[in-house]
Structure formats: structure tokens, C-alpha cells
């Protein structure tokens, strides 16, 4: 059975149809990319999946149950974690606190146990702290930065903290919105490997939006191409590379522009 199923999902903003009858399926353990030109509706699609937007039409099923009408925090608790296109860390909290926030709904403590500091509370906090520390190490952040405010980290570091925070929710599905944006080739290489490790070691299914074709082609098992809110193609990297629709809508234009730039130089 599919882990995630989107059936005829449509999201409109006034007269603009940002996502139009999107059909999409994700199997457990896959790494799938969604690509498309700017404004194609990729991020809107992500936001409807995570409950930040409510689609006008269509169904979204996760593990066979509908996500429509659930609040974002309820959807997160069902096992979908995400990162954001423009990093949205809690800047004035320390790195480790950011990660701890990701564990929010796994922690059993409540107001009473927090005020009275039961042993169970202390134990849970220590365990959570240790777990957060491991995650920080896992995503490749220097652990001596754990107590640093998140806003003080370099760009690449902040991207990694965001991934660690999402992993802290112990999700089944991880949505990454342009995780390699603004990274240099070496950093890109590192996070690409990180994603593969997350899938292989933690068995988390990954869906990512990405513009960097090196990342997309290297990591994806399947690619979905969106343009004007619709899915125009889907297939393996090799199929997408040779798909005429895609070349026309996206890669083609990009390739031509690239050649043009080179000629100018």
C-alpha cells in the first residue's frame, strides 16, 4: 500500500489555481523529487500535504487515512515532518532546543510534572537531550555548537539544524523543501549523502523539492515534474531527462539559457 496518496488535489488562491488535480503516490522507503519551474506549485503542494493549506478538492491519504481537515500539528503527529524553503528555525533558541522542540509531541511531560519535577520528568528530559545530541551529531553539526543560538550558525549549518529538528519528530515521511538551496558543491554533496543515509538507516521515506539537478538526478528514484500546478511527467531520472514535455517546460529552457550564458562569457 502506498504511504502517501494524493488524489485530484486542487488548491486555489482566489482565481489562481496553484495546484490543479494533482495525483501523486509515494511508496514506503522511496526517495522522490518534485521538480518544476518557479511558481509551478511545488511548495503549495507541500503546504497542502502538511495541512498549512486546506485543498479545495481532492483527497490526501497517509497510511490509508485521510489528512484533510487535520491541523498541521496533528499531521506532524501522524508522522510527516518537513523543512522549509526559506529556513524557519527558532532563531533565538539554542541548536539543541530547536531539536527538542521537534520532539514536542513525543514527550509525555505536562504542566504538573514540569512544575513538580517528578523523577519521570527529569529522566525524560535527559533522554530527550541525549537523543537531540545524537541527532545533531547525525546531521553533521559540530556538537560544540549545541548551545549556540540557531541564528548564529552559518547558512549550511542552519539547514542541517532544520533537518535534525524534523528528524526529532521521528517521522515516517520527511518533506524537504529545497534543502540544497544556497549550498556550495561540497555541502550539496554532503547533504545528498545525508538524505540517503536517513532513508537507509532510519527507514524514512523522503520527498523533496529541489532545483539543483545534480542532487535530483543523483538521489531520486522517481521524479515528478510540475508546471502550472499540474503534474506534467513522472518517471525515473533517465525517463525524465529524455521526456520532451519536461525539456520543453523546464530543462529545455534551462539548458538553452545555460548555453546562452556560456556564449556571452
Amino acid at each position: 500500500m502506498a504511504l502517501l496518496q494524493a488524489i485530484d488535489v486542487t488548491k486555489r488562491f482566489g482565481g489562481l489555481t496553484a495546484v490543479n488535480k494533482m495525483n501523486f503516490e509515494l511508496k514506503k522507503g522511496e526517495i522522490v523529487s518534485v521538480i518544476g519551474p518557479n511558481g509551478a506549485g511545488k511548495t503549495t503542494f507541500f503546504n497542502t500535504l502538511t495541512g498549512l493549506y486546506r485543498p479545495e478538492e481532492g483527497k490526501i491519504l497517509f497510511n490509508g487515512t485521510s489528512l484533510i481537515g487535520l491541523r498541521p500539528d496533528q499531521i506532524a503527529a501522524r508522522g510527516i515532518a518537513r523543512t522549509f524553503q526559506n529556513i524557519r528555525l527558532f532563531g533565538n533558541m539554542s541548536v539543541i532546543e530547536n531539536v527538542l522542540v521537534g520532539m514536542h509531541f513525543h514527550l509525555k511531560q505536562n504542566m504538573v510534572s514540569a512544575i513538580l519535577r517528578f523523577d519521570s520528568f527529569k529522566k525524560e528530559e535527559l533522554e530527550a537531550e541525549a537523543c537531540a545530541y545524537e541527532l545533531i551529531k547525525y546531521v553533521g553539526i559540530d556538537t560544540s555548537l549545541s548551545n549556540e543560538l540557531a541564528k548564529n550558525l552559518p547558512y549550511g549549518g542552519q539547514r542541517r539544524v532544520e533537518i535534525a529538528r524534523a528528524l526529532a519528530a521521528d517521522p515516517q515521511l520527511l518533506l524537504l523543501d529545497e534543502p540544497a538551496a544556497g549550498m556550495n558543491p561540497q555541502e550539496t554533496e554532503e547533504v545528498t549523502n545525508l538524505f540517503r543515509r536517513i532513508r537507509d538507516e532510519k527507514e524514512i521515506t523522503i520527498l523533496l523539492i529541489e532545483h539543483d539537478m545534480r542532487v535530483v538526478m543523483r538521489i531520486s528514484e522517481r521524479i515528478s515534474v510540475m508546471d502550472y500546478g499540474e503534474k506534467i511527467a513522472e518517471g525515473s531520472p533517465a525517463q525524465i531527462r529524455s521526456n520532451s514535455h519536461v525539456i520543453e517546460a523546464y530543462l529545455g529552457r534551462g539548458a538553452v539559457a545555460g548555453q546562452h550564458e556560456e556564449m556571452v562569457k
Partner: protein
Amino acid sequence: MFSKEKFQDFLAKLNTGYTPYVLILVHIMIGAIWVYSSPRSNVAFVVFISSLLTLYGLNTNKIFKLSAGLILALVVMPVLGVRNIFYLEIMFQISVFAALSLGLNIVIGFAGLLDLGYVAFYAVGAYLWGFFGSQQFYAIPYAPGIQPSDLPFLLPGDMFYLFIFIAIIVAALTGILLGLPVLRLRGDYLAIVTLGFGEVIRVLANNLDKPWNLTNGPQGITPVQRPTMPQFAVDGFNNFFGGIIGHTVSKADVYNVFFYLLALLVIVTIIQVVSRLNDSKIGRAWTAIREDETAAIAMGIPLVQMKLAAFATGASFAGAMGVLMAASRTFVSPESFSFMQSIGVLTMVILGGTGSIPGVILGAATVTVLNLQILQGFSLYLSQLRQSDAVIPIINFAWKNLSTQLDPAKYQRLLFGAILILMMIFRPAGLIPAARRQRELAADDEE
């Protein structure tokens, strides 16, 4: 030349070894002796209470801090306060406002929800005990001013203790009631709605003297009962401290000491509750909401629930302090809960440092002292000058020609405004900025 580095070096040197201990003790001694010998001097009192700041700020071990603080609060302050009861009053006010600031700090500092009607919860607590702890219940059929004076009291005065807890619950419920409809709002919109809510409570208190006289209208409810004070407590206090105080202490003054100590106890409890909440998943969720609401909800934080928790917790502190205030004053009236009070508490939070627990306490102390002592003292000084024959030399201006309209005690609003503006420009994070807890982590890291 005087260089900044040298100065910092000098400060650092002062803060190591035994020097801080000596400095603190000297500061406390000077302050205490000065206040003891001239109980009416404002400067002496400011020097004295600023020793708390030295105690907090300088680098000494915990046991010293704790014991020095306890002796200051439980022995030195009551003795000095009984010699000039005004000081106890100031300490009580500082505690009340510190509690309010700590409560508002949860809503504004932690969760980032701008609440301009916070004083409403304080009113809820005060009127709760004001109603049940007075004759008001039997005065319901009478219009204000015409009720007979021999009405019985509804509840015995010792129910006061129970009502502190009831007020916590009632104020928290009021907080939730306010929170529910306004949670969709952010920033300015939220501020306006809460401002309106604060005014609604005040106007209700002002006008609920008809058709049934529930609040006795603008005249306020009086007398509100205090818990009973056994005679042996008064005698005990006199036996113990009578020698140093120099005169017999009356029951009324022992009441002042009692309320001061009770307020202190409430404050210590609140500080514990706030700092423990702050260092749990609840506090982290509040801060996350303040930092980025969208990211917070996407990370699985239930926004509505956590915001309501912030509103309720903040409100409950104000409720408890309301009961305390009503009993200590034996009087509640709507004018104590004006919009200016909310702004006052907001000023304390911003001055001290939004989100910082020691900060907002310092803010509350500073604003209260400025308000009750410095401005008042300045007023007094001006009026003395007016009555004298003194003349300002160069411009040849006689002090007695100074308009009586110029009364610094009335410039509270100017003070609040100036503090808010200056802080925003020069120190937006406050006097003691909030710091994140530093966790000790690297213990297991040896690879």
C-alpha cells in the same frame, strides 16, 4: 587615558576571589545602617535595595547568595520596614508588580502574544475576594452609599488563604475565556482586543452597582477582610525585634510585615513555577511559537492549546496577587485596574528584558521605586523649594514662582513613555536580557 578594556579588566578583578563577598557585605551594611539611622531618606533606601542587585550580579557561591538573601528578606527588611512602614509598602508593591510582570512575561516574553489588558486578571482576583471577603453579598439589594453599616460579613477572614487558590483557578479560566476568541489574531490585532478586554472588566467593575449592587460601583468595596492575626504573633514579633526597632510595634504594622512576607512567598513560588515551566517542553513550545508560529505548528506544537496555557498561567499569577492586594488594602475599586496599570506592567517587562525572569523582577522593582519614591520624593523636594525663599542664581528665578502644576508625581505616564522609548532605542533586549539555558552536553563525546 581611561580605556574601556582597562575598566573591564578592573571589573573582572573585582568579581573574583573574596572581593565580591566583601563588596556585597559592605553594600548591605552601608544600606542597612543608613536606612536604620535615617528612616526617611529616599537615597538610603535605594542604596539599600540595590544591594539585592549586587548580591544577584556578583560572582559568589550559591549558599552565600541564598543565606544573605534570606537574612535580608526575613530579618533586615522587616526591621527596617517597621521603622518606616512606607518601605514595607514599597517592598509589597514591588512584589505585587513583580508577580504581575512575571505573569505578563509568560504571555509576552515567552509566547510572544502582546497583551495590553493584563491588569483585568488582577482585577478578577481582587474583586473575587473583594466580593466574598466583605459585606458586599448582603449589600446587593442596596444602591451604593445607602447600605446599612451593620451588615454581616459573608465569609470569615481566614477564608482568604483558600481564596488565593480559588483566584488562581478563576483567573486562569478567565484567561482561557479571553484566549479562545482572540487566538487567531496576531500582533497588533491581538493587542487591541486584549486592551478592549481589560477595559471591559474595568467598566464592568465600575458599573455593576446596578441593577444589583455587585461591585459597589466607582466607590469600590470596603472593608475587605484580612485573615486574623493572633495576638501571640504580635507579641512574638515585639519580643524578638522590639529591641532593635526601638518602639512597640502595633498590630497594624505586624499586618504589613505579614503581607510583605506573604507576597514574598508568592513571588518565590511564582519564580520557581515560571523557571521550571520555561525549562520544559511547554516553555520550549511557547518560545517556538514566539519565534515562528508556522514552523512551530508544522513541528507538531498545538498552537491553540499552548497559547491558552500561556494565557491561563499568566492570568493565574495576577489573580493570586489580586486577592493579596484586596486583603492588604482592605479596599478594591475600579481605578486600580486602569489601562495605565497594564501599560505600567508592560513597561516593567520591557525595561527588565522580555523573556528574562531576573530581568522583569528588576524592571518591576525599578519602575515601582521610580514611581513611588523617586517621583514622589522629587515632588516633595520641589514643594519644599517653593515654600522657601531660594532663588536660582543666574536666571534669577524664585522657586516660589514655580507653578504648582509642575508635580513630578503626576508624571507617571511620561515616565512610562520615556522608559519604553529609551529602551527600544538603546537596549531593546532589556536591562538583563533573556539567555537560553546552557546545557552540559559534551560529557560522552570522545571519538
